[in-house]
């Protein structure tokens, strides 16, 4: 009954979306104001109904109701509870339902919280939101029904891919989806503004929290996903330029560019057309991302089901939405002026360069990701991966870092080159110092890591420079946000470069009592023992580790885990985190002669990668709070004035 309830809720939500679109368009286009009053309630009802459907799905997973096809295919009664709940979205249908649920809730949130935007633009926005949702309801109901029954029902289910049986599953997909969906809300705002020809600071201020929110979640989602891959895959890599990773990176790049151009629009009423264009691009990227991951065109741990019908359906949705968005953009953009002007040497000028470089990076990643698919279309098999992206994205990204250091030190509208050079003294000095210190160590590591480390030092100093000479307690929260986020980029960059330049690797076959060195550590195999978990059994190696001959020993126990359902072996790495890096150990196979294969890495300062990612997210959050606080104060003051 729960499954049927869920399906009914989903159908009702779809009906609400249609109703929402009809009401909104008759209010905006037909000019029937009385219709507008029902737009918000419809959006809220849609949100509630999707949440109800998702709740029903989680419930059937928790109950292990094997008469539901999706549960039988993807769950198992012996799975720990957290993976039963998270397993609800660890499959194709469930993850699409989660997508739609977040979309519905975001629509409801717009309807409830957005108070400052012009009423017509808001109605158009909610209408656009309904239009996006309708496509995905159709996809769910006609091509990916999560509540389909199975008869006769099997005694137990197939289980969940063990790689996904990790706390990461509970957070990684919802976080990224909130990001994707947040971008779609930003896009709906852009559509709303285009429909009512109302592109200006008020619209930018209404859109900004959504862009910022989406960007925070994308940042956290990508950072967490990267760390998850790092410890789960067991080879010490943290970014693979895998198409699925690129699918999350592209919306992030577009959202980063949008975030910066929207502040030009909100603060200076400039870059109007460009901001709208970026909103369209960001939305297109999140659609392409969803398509790449969900259509089954790529085979990876993310692609759960391979069904050509679904791929075609998603491709059609993609074409309709992106095509429609571009058509609306082309039709209306002629009426949007670019807005206020500025000198090349100015905060706006640096932000324009930032936007262009981000767009170039985005373009390269997009082409590099889709090129093999296109080439396969004309019969050529080729691969595009790390070497291509290192050579192309690397230099552009470093140029971006330079402008990132400069931008916050510039004034709005117009600035003097001399004054800028003076302000850049300390960052440049930091870079020079880093160069002198690092050359003896990192000379053999290649130009790119060395350049990255040197620029990271300069960027770190430049990012905190806007705080110099300021009363820190009176500095607005969003300025703090910018400082922290830019500092986070410097920290993350330093981690990436350090990992690439200084990592030490030791591959060895160890028998009991044997010792090998990796970096500053000595690793001794002290024993091999079996371990039993809730739904797996494992072999664990006990490695006794000392830092140098006289170091205090500690134990790391990497495991090789065997899951019975589905039958799979995974390697569980064991990692020791120190202030100056991580020691990463993996247990491989037995050599049959009493020895065990172990892989050992010493990765100096590798943790900075994710620490930096967390700082970027934190910076975003500070900015978000700062903006919300200022907006609430403005609303309060307006209210006061009205009363007076």
């Amino acid at each position: 009954m729960i499954a049927e309830g869920g399906l009914a809720a989903l159908w009702l939500a779809a009906v609400m979306a249609v109703l929402q679109l009809v009401l909104a368009s008759s209010a905006v286009i037909g000019g029937r104001a009385e219709m507008a009053r029902a737009v918000r309630p419809a959006a809220i009802a849609q949100g509630v109904l999707t949440a109800l459907a998702m709740l029903c799905l989680i419930l059937v997973f928790v109950q292990s109701d094997m008469s539901v096809l999706l549960v039988a295919e993807n769950s198992h009664s012996l799975k720990p509870m957290i993976y039963k709940i998270a397993g609800a979205w660890g499959n194709h249908e469930g993850s699409m339902l989660l997508w739609v649920t977040i979309l519905g809730l975001a629509g409801a949130a717009v309807a409830i919280f957005e108070r400052r935007l012009d009423q017509r633009t808001l109605n158009a926005t909610i209408g656009a939101q309904a239009l996006i949702a309708m496509g995905f309801y159709a996809f769910l109901l006609f091509a990916s029904n999560p509540f389909a029954r199975l008869f006769p029902s099997p005694p137990d289910g197939n289980g969940l891919n063990p790689l996904l049986q990790d706390p990461g599953l509970a957070f990684h997909p919802p976080t990224l989806y909130v990001g994707y969906v947040g971008i779609s809300v930003a896009f709906s705002f852009a559509v709303g503004a285009l429909v009512t020809r109302d592109v200006g600071p008020a619209f930018a201020r209404a859109m900004r929290p959504w862009v910022l929110g989406a960007w925070i979640f994308l940042t956290i989602g990508i950072t967490a996903g990267s760390y998850w891959a790092y410890y789960e895959l067991g080879w010490g890599g943290w970014w693979f330029w895998d198409p699925v990773e690129n699918a999350s990176l592209m919306p992030w790049l577009a959202a980063t560019a949008l975030l910066h151009s929207v502040s030009v629009l909100a603060t200076r009423d400039g870059l109007r057309a460009w901001t709208i264009m970026l909103a369209v691009v960001a939305f297109s990227m999140s659609m392409i991302g969803t398509f790449l991951v969900r259509s089954g065109i790529l085979t990876s741990v993310h692609a759960f089901a391979v069904d050509p019908k679904r791929g075609a359906f998603l491709l059609a949705l993609l074409a309709i939405y992106i095509g429609g968005a571009l058509a609306l953009f082309a039709a209306r953009i002629g009426t949007v002026r670019q807005g206020n002007t500025f000198a090349p040497v100015s905060r706006e000028g640096a932000l324009v360069v930032n936007n262009l470089l981000l767009s170039v990076v985005l373009g390269i990643v997009l082409i590099g990701t889709l090129y093999p698919l296109a080439a396969a279309g004309w019969g050529v098999q080729l691969s595009v991966g790390k070497p291509f992206f290192d050579k192309t994205v690397g230099p552009v990204a470093l140029a971006l870092v330079v402008f990132m250091a400069i931008g916050p030190l510039l004034r709005w509208r117009r600035d003097e080159t001399q004054a800028l050079l003076k302000r850049m003294t300390w960052p440049v000095a930091a870079s020079c110092a880093a160069l002198i210190v690092l050359v003896p160590f990192a000379w053999g590591a290649g130009v790119l890591p060395l350049a990255a480390l040197v620029l990271a030092a300069g960027l770190a100093v430049a990012s905190v420079a806007p705080l110099w000479g300021r009363n820190l307690r009176r500095t607005p929260l969003f300025t703090w946000g910018m400082v922290v986020a830019h500092l986070g980029v410097a920290v993350s960059l330093a981690g990436m470069a350090s990992d690439s330049a200084f990592t030490k690797e030791t591959l060895a076959v160890l028998r009991q009592g044997e010792t090998r060195a990796v970096g500053p550590y000595l690793v001794t195999m002290t024993g091999i023992r079996p371990v039993v978990g809730p739904n797996w059994s494992a072999i664990a190696a006990d490695l006794s580790i000392r830092r140098g001959e006289n170091g205090k020993p500690f134990i790391l126990s990497p495991q090789s885990r065997f899951f019975a359902s589905p039958p799979t072996t995974t390697s569980e790495s064991a990692i020791a985190t120190r202030l100056d890096g991580q020691l990463y150990t993996v247990l491989g196979q037995a050599d049959g002669k009493g020895g065990w294969q172990v892989r050992l890495w010493w990765k100096p300062f590798v943790t900075l990668i994710w620490l930096g990612g967390a700082l970027i997210g934190l910076g975003g959050a500070l900015s978000f709070l700062g903006r919300i606080r200022r907006r609430n104060r403005a609303v309060y003051e307006e209210h006061e004035e009205a009363v007076a």
Partner: protein, 171 residues
């Protein structure tokens, strides 16, 4: 999964289809142990022993999959090359990051050739000749790939033109 290109099946190192079925689910590094009939394993072992007897180099080959070369410079070269060679069995992974047997074989092959004094680019060329462009994550510049390599420069040029024109107009 997307069927593997035919030339890979001909290349010999790709396992038979039934074997691949199991191991290809392991994209992103898990190893699937086959739970089907085991009788084939015996045959393989016997075959392997015979092969090893005929060619002692083969035993050495298997052992270099996860054994570093004694010369650190050569090991670094081999490692850097492995990071750019695609595992033909698992989607989207370099052989340096894969648990698949075939990735191990290829790592071993690469270490062997580097050890014998070949340059990384020679080894890459040999691998491309044998498996096609698909094997290299560093697509060679050629008829089918020049638009790819030109794209960054084209994008950058367009960017600079847009930036310059917007500044000029604004001044």
């Amino acid at each position: 999964m997307r069927p593997l290109p035919r030339f890979l099946r001909h290349a010999g190192l790709v396992p038979a289809p039934n074997e691949r079925q199991a191991s290809c689910v392991e994209s992103k590094g898990i190893r699937l142990r086959r739970v089907g009939p085991r009788h084939k394993a015996g045959v393989t072992v016997v075959l392997g022993l015979i092969l090893a007897a005929i060619n002692p180099a083969l035993a050495e080959k298997a052992s270099l999959a996860d054994t570093q070369l004694s010369d650190p410079a050569k090991e670094a070269q081999a490692k850097a090359l492995m990071e750019t060679i695609r595992c033909v069995e698992c989607q989207g992974q370099a052989i340096s990051d894969s648990n698949a047997d075939i990735a191990g074989n290829m790592r071993s092959l690469i270490r062997e050739r580097i050890k014998a004094g070949e340059s990384p680019e020679q080894v890459r060329a040999w691998l491309i000749q044998r498996y096609g462009d698909y094997i290299s994550y560093d697509p060679p510049l050629g008829g089918a790939t020049w638009p790819l390599w030109a794209a960054p420069f084209v994008l950058l040029t367009i960017g600079i033109v847009i930036a310059r024109s917007s500044f000029r107009r604004k001044r």
